[in-house]
């Protein structure tokens, strides 16, 4: 038996080594090598190839959320973007010649995963078509800037207005919140008490600062700003806080529809009915079959800058095209506000790339230059335009509209008043320099 023991001992390490070897071999095979395999950029055709443009196609990655609780909020936005691109590609692409290849990556609303997703797409991107969610934009914006890329954020924080790497296409929270509060006070008459509600943390801070500014400029009283944690399931304490502060007008900027829906539903149960003013991005069509719909329709208004889906009278030809795109490319997606927003954002990308192609330079620096040369970011009636120019000169839309929840309407809401002027003090809001 001695020889068996000896050979048994000799083999002791081997199966473990074999397993390790197998795993490593698998890793090698799966990851592939390829260092030094990158092709050198070559000059061909009339436009020079750059990262994200191979002479024929533009590669536009989207860092959005397709899983988890935030996915529902991101879906219509993404669908709108995709519909535009598919419609564009069907007509040949940018300038009729260069189709756009959308690469969708899921960040799971997690900055860590987003960082890795960004790493995997940044080398083959002409610009980032979408970065969804404030925490994600926050975590990536410095790197996007360092890589000289442009990105369109679906997040409307004040810091992004003048940021050179970011191209906001909808108004920031502060603009709509303050315009809405102003409108509600005008409607209510007298001297109503104003309060705010924000998602606990950064949004609560945004609401507090914005209302601070508003109260100083317009002279109204702000009683309290309530923060709601994202995990809240019972909203009684928050409604109670608002009730005990005697709020008449409540501006609300929260992360998702569940929070808004839950809060409003609980308020209706506790028979508390202030004038709720929201930035309409939250209002998703699914609230239509909520048992609290009547209360919401009665007491909630949303402020926006985007034309309601299907409103051809105000949206014109562009709206007709949009509806056609929806019906052809994403008929299953409910036509919510964000669908129009996403579509309009891609329209801006289209204009940018078309202009850059005309200028003969689609490199990252070239795109920035072209973008800074726009005097206005115009959406052909789908949304109110931005005053544009150099990053430091950008001004959010100076008009807004008021939306009311309406059963059966596409997107669950209709605009009740349009083309209202954003008050001067709100236009002058001191958005931070980059």
């Amino acid at each position: 038996m001695k020889s068996v023991t000896r050979s048994g001992k000799r083999r002791q390490g081997r199966p473990v080594a074999v397993t390790t070897g197998l795993v490593l071999a698998l890793t090698l095979a799966a990851c592939g090598g390829g260092r030094g395999n990158e092709e050198a950029a070559a000059e061909s055709g009339s436009l020079a190839e750059v990262p994200g443009f191979d002479g024929e196609t533009f590669t536009v990655p989207m860092l959005t959320v397709t899983s988890g609780p935030v996915a529902a909020a991101a879906a219509p936005n993404l669908a709108g973007m995709q519909a535009y691109i598919e419609q564009l590609n069907a007509a040949g692409g940018i300038a009729g010649k260069y189709p756009i290849d959308l690469v969708v990556r899921d960040t799971e609303y997690n900055a860590g995963k987003a960082a890795q997703a960004y790493d995997s797409v940044k080398d083959d991107a002409v610009l980032l078509g979408n970065v969804f969610g404030t925490p994600i934009v926050q975590s990536l914006k410095d790197r996007i800037e360092a890589d000289q890329l442009l990105a369109l954020p679906t997040s409307f924080a004040a810091d992004y207005v003048h940021h050179p790497a970011l191209m906001m296409t909808d108004a920031p929270y502060e603009t709509h919140l303050l315009a809405g509060v102003d409108y509600a006070i005008g409607q209510a008459g007298g001297d109503p008490t104003v309060c705010g509600v924000g998602g606990e943390g950064a949004l609560q801070e945004t609401v507090t600062q914005a209302l601070d500014y508003g109260s100083k400029e317009a002279g109204y009283t702000v009683a309290t700003v309530v923060g709601i944690p994202p995990t809240a399931t019972d909203f009684t304490p928050y409604v109670q806080q608002l009730q005990s502060a005697d709020c008449d007008v409540v501006g609300i900027v929260a992360v998702g529809e569940p929070t808004v829906a839950g809060l409003l539903a609980k308020a209706s149960q506790l028979a508390y009915a202030p004038q709720w003013v929201g930035t309409s991005a939250q209002f998703v069509a699914s609230m239509q079959d909520s048992p609290a719909f009547d209360y919401i329709a009665e007491n909630y208004i949303g402020i926006g800058a985007t034309t309601t889906y299907g409103d051809v009278e105000n949206g014109g030809e562009a709206m007709e095209k949009l509806v056609a795109a929806h019906d052809e490319f994403s008929p299953d997606v409910p036509p919510a506000y964000q669908f129009v927003g996403g579509y309009a954002a891609m329209m801006a990308v289209d204009k940018l790339l078309t202009a850059a192609v005309e200028n003969g330079d689609v490199s990252r620096a070239g795109l920035r230059e072209t973008l800074a040369s726009f005097e206005e970011l115009d959406f052909e009636g789908l949304a109110y335009p931005w005053t544009w120019g150099e990053p430091g000169d950008r001004v959010p839309p100076s008009k807004y509209l008021v939306l009311k929840p309406t059963k059966g309407a596409p997107g669950g809401q209709t605009d009740v008043e349009r083309d209202l002027d954003v008050p001067d003090y709100v236009v002058d809001y001191p958005f931070p320099e980059a």
Partner: protein
């Protein structure tokens, strides 16, 4: 009656140096050479994005090594490793970025802080039995979530904060080793850390401390009876595991350069569980293999979601054709791995290796027996 027990000086029983012992040294040198080749050769072969993924695998392997000691050796099922990783990450991010602390000082601080916090957790844990410990460790994750979200001045709240601190020690920048890109350098740094800690873990296993912990794992009362200081070893295991976790946190922050509270939540905790289950919880190699396989697989799927077969099977967005949304797939995959591995090979990959070894050894015996039998018959 002849003496049955012979003394050590009797040539019949004195241990002779067997060829196996000599080949042991050869084996060790060979293993070291292989490891060195892998460590320095891999960065030369793979592209940066793959190296980045592998560096993350290293960080997860490091965190899992802490669990190897705590759960594998000492048998304490704690789900709270991400908390200590988070502490390490936030400490180094804050002090590194805001106060410009040197990375060496950060490493020392983070390891000490992790150890102290772990010891405190251990003090509480010694009074708790298995299930209570598991649940209190969940409580620690919840508390971590609160802390990381609430202490905004340090952590940046739910939007997270930058962790782009400098990795220079003296004149050497760990993120820019001579002739290497950032990804290459960090790959080397992270896997070197894993190597060092794995060697330490392996050494512990072979020492008295390791055996004491395993005795506690098998039967706590019996261990106490034979004189093992159960309290001290449990607290020590917690402290060590947490210190390793905090170190993993520092490297994680350095890699990602931005951290948010979501990086240290319950999902991460379950990912670690999957890693140690798949790899094998009671050997350092298990942590490494598990991290490579589980985390590596998850990352590989994420980046190949546009190609076959995933683009057909998984839906990237609402309205895309597919059986399952991509995010759900990763959850599904982790859960399925846990189930499959636990049912078929609870010892993980390392156990698979051990089983293979036994099978090979038994073939040897069978072959030998058959040969002996044949010889008998023909003679």
């Amino acid at each position: 009656m002849a003496t049955v027990v012979r003394s050590d000086t009797d040539p019949a029983v004195r241990p002779r140096p067997t060829p196996a012992r000599r080949s042991g040294v050869v084996r060790r040198v060979l293993a070291a050479a292989v490891v060195l080749v892998l460590l320095l050769g891999t960065p030369l072969y793979f592209v940066d994005s793959t190296l980045a993924t592998l560096a993350y695998c290293a960080v997860f392997a490091l965190g899992a090594l802490g669990l190897t000691i705590l759960t594998g050796y000492a048998g304490q099922l704690s789900i709270a490793q991400p908390f200590f990783i988070g502490v390490g990450a936030y400490l180094s991010a804050y002090l590194g970025v805001e106060s410009g602390w040197n990375v060496l000082a950060l490493t020392v601080l983070v390891v000490v802080a992790g150890g102290v916090l772990g010891a405190l957790a251990g003090l509480v844990a010694v009074r708790l039995s298995g299930i209570e410990l598991a649940i209190v460790s969940i409580a620690l994750i919840a508390f971590g979530d609160y802390l990381f979200n609430q202490w905004k001045s340090v952590t940046g709240g739910e939007n997270g904060r930058s962790a782009a601190f400098s990795l220079e020690i003296g004149g050497l920048d760990l993120a820019a080793l001579p002739g290497m890109t950032r990804s290459q350098s960090l790959f080397v740094v992270c896997w070197t850390a894993v190597l060092l800690v794995a060697l330490v873990a392996r050494a512990i296993r072979r020492q008295r401390a390791g055996r004491a912990m395993m005795a506690i794992r098998e039967h706590e009362r019996a261990a106490e009876v034979i004189g093992i200081d159960v309290r001290a070893y449990k607290i020590g295991a917690f402290a060590l595991a947490s210190a390793i976790g905090a170190l993993a946190g520092l490297l994680y922050a350095a890699l990602q350069q931005y951290i948010t509270p979501l990086d240290f939540d319950l999902n991460t905790a379950v990912l670690f569980l999957a890693i140690v289950v798949v790899g094998g919880v009671d050997r350092p190699l298990g942590a490494v293999l598990g991290a490579l396989l589980v985390y590596g697989a998850v990352q590989w799927v994420s980046s190949h979601v546009d190609s076959w077969p995933f683009d057909a099977l998984l839906s990237s967005f609402q309205g895309d054709a597919g059986l399952m949304p991509i995010g759900s797939f990763l959850t599904f995959f982790t859960g399925l791995l846990l189930i499959v591995v636990l049912l078929w090979e609870p010892q993980g990959l390392v156990g698979l290796g051990a089983r293979a070894k036994r099978r090979i050894a038994s073939w040897d015996v069978a072959a030998r027996l058959r040969r002996d039998h044949r010889d008998e018959e023909t003679s």
